[in-house]
């Protein structure tokens, strides 16, 4: 069972490595969206410091969602997904493995590049660890919830737009807690409460999302 999961993770990472431009596009999107806000609302440093956590989190949300549409699409198109459904290893495990691979491809780079955006927004250096930690805890939840939506919209007309309509409302708690943790820390109250709640969300999503993803895949592949 674990072998199958490891095999799927390794395969997806290898595929992503062979097509690096896909990964780079999502990352570039994140940087560009985050850079647009100062141009739109003015470059007043105090204002930027105030909105930085929210902007970084919204950009992370959108960029993680962009890559979701591709999560199952290629495997669906060439029939690999059907073989995975028929295979001996539980579908939930495979769904979890694909989600982990998706996070490593789309979530982890965001965590690594977020401090750069934080510099653009003149966020105090003391907040970088909180920001990084909130992203480390929050972006896997985004991948897990998003994968349910991706599985439900598999092969539908206008899948990308539909996916955002389904998934973005469900992302609200992650956004509020993620951006909230950095804001609380910058107000000097410590963001531990929000970070613990984010961790709780992550645990709950890890426990339940793979089943929901598997059920959604079965519905879509009938």
């Amino acid at each position: 069972m674990l072998d199958a999961a490891l095999c799927v993770v390794r395969r997806d990472l290898l595929l992503a490595w062979r097509r690096k431009s896909d990964v780079a596009t999502a990352l570039l999107f994140f940087v560009i969206v985050a850079s647009l806000f100062p141009l739109g609302i003015g470059a007043e440093p105090n204002l930027l410091r105030g909105i930085a956590p929210g902007v970084i989190w919204v950009a992370a949300l959108l960029s993680s969602m962009l890559s979701l549409a591709r999560l199952f699409a290629a495997d669906h198109a060439d029939g690999t997904l059907e073989q995975m459904l028929l295979g001996a290893s539980p579908l939930g495990v495979i769904a979890a493995a694909k989600t982990i691979a998706h996070w490593i491809i789309s979530g982890l780079p965001l965590v690594l590049i977020a401090p750069l955006i934080a510099v653009q927004y003149d966020l105090p250096a003391a907040l970088y660890p909180v920001l990084a930690l909130s992203l480390v805890l929050g972006t896997p939840v985004l991948s897990l919830i998003g994968a349910i939506g991706a599985a439900l919209t598999l092969g539908l007309r206008g899948g990308g737009i539909l996916l955002s309509l389904l998934v973005l409302p469900l992302y609200v708690p992650v956004l509020i807690l993620g951006a909230g943790s950095v804001e609380m820390a910058s107000a000097g109250m410590g963001g531990e409460g929000q970070l613990l709640l984010l961790a709780a969300l992550l645990v709950a999503a890890c426990a339940f999302a793979p089943w929901a993803i598997a059920a959604a895949l079965r519905i879509s592949m009938e």
Binding site: L166, V172, A212
Partner: protein, 232 residues
């Protein structure tokens, strides 16, 4: 009486046609009574004046918007568990009514907020959760509209409704902790009502009227869905 007899669209179709007008009739009577008590009998509010009377639309609509989502998710879960065709149809028939009540609650709330809070919209916990609820309804409707095969549409919508119902408490508490301005509930099961009894009567009458209306229109709509799919 065997309730499962009515689990089939063919037998449910005539039953829905027979009872729907009665629910509609009850809704009209209750709404007339509720509006009469609300506008002519209930006293003027000491602080807010006449403007508070929007409560007789606003609060029942907000209750129904949440209640209908629960009922919809319940039908969805039944459909996934027992693989009954009618359950999915009931869930799709309820979604537009739920979205309508969510919209009414938001709309009347903003009209009420303008004279009392001085603004049409604030990013307050309850308003935000209600807005997210509207998005969840619209996502459900959009997902079902995008899928051509009705069986797949039912089951995909069912899964989405269940994921949404798990998320609603999480969304609600996350926005409550985030920000809050909306007054607390005026009616609670544990503490009783903190309002005048005629106001409460009018509000409960309107809530019942909305409830009956929801049943009536969803029965009519489920008949249309059964017809569309050629099952009766």
């Amino acid at each position: 009486m065997n309730w499962f007899w009515y689990a089939s669209p063919q037998t449910f179709y005539p039953l829905a046609g027979r009872v729907a007008p009665w629910f509609g009739f009850a809704a009209a009577l209750l709404a007339a009574a509720g509006l009469y008590v609300g506008f002519f009998v209930a006293p003027t509010d000491a602080q807010q004046g006449e403007v508070y009377r929007v409560i007789f639309i606003h609060v029942p609509a907000a209750w129904l918007s949440m209640f209908i989502y629960l009922v919809m998710a319940g039908w969805a879960a039944l459909g996934l568990a027992f693989n009954t065709r009618l359950s999915g149809m009931m869930a799709s028939a309820l979604a537009p009514t739920g979205a309508l009540f969510t919209f009414i609650a938001l709309w009347t709330g903003s009209l009420w907020g303008r004279p009392t809070w001085g603004t049409y919209w604030v990013w307050d916990a309850r308003l935000t959760s209600e807005l997210v609820l509207l998005f969840l309804y619209l996502g459900f409707i959009a997902l079902q509209a995008a899928i051509d095969d009705p069986r797949r549409a039912d089951r995909a919508g069912a899964l989405l409704a269940i994921v949404g119902v798990v998320n609603i408490p999480i969304i609600h508490y996350s926005v409550v902790w985030w920000n809050t301005l909306h007054q607390g509930a005026s009616v609670s099961v544990t503490k009783g009502a903190s309002m005048q009894s005629q106001m409460l009567t009018a509000m409960l009458l309107m809530a019942l009227a909305f409830w009956m209306y929801s049943i009536a229109v969803s029965l009519v709509r489920v008949r249309c869905i059964i017809r569309e799919r050629g099952e009766a």
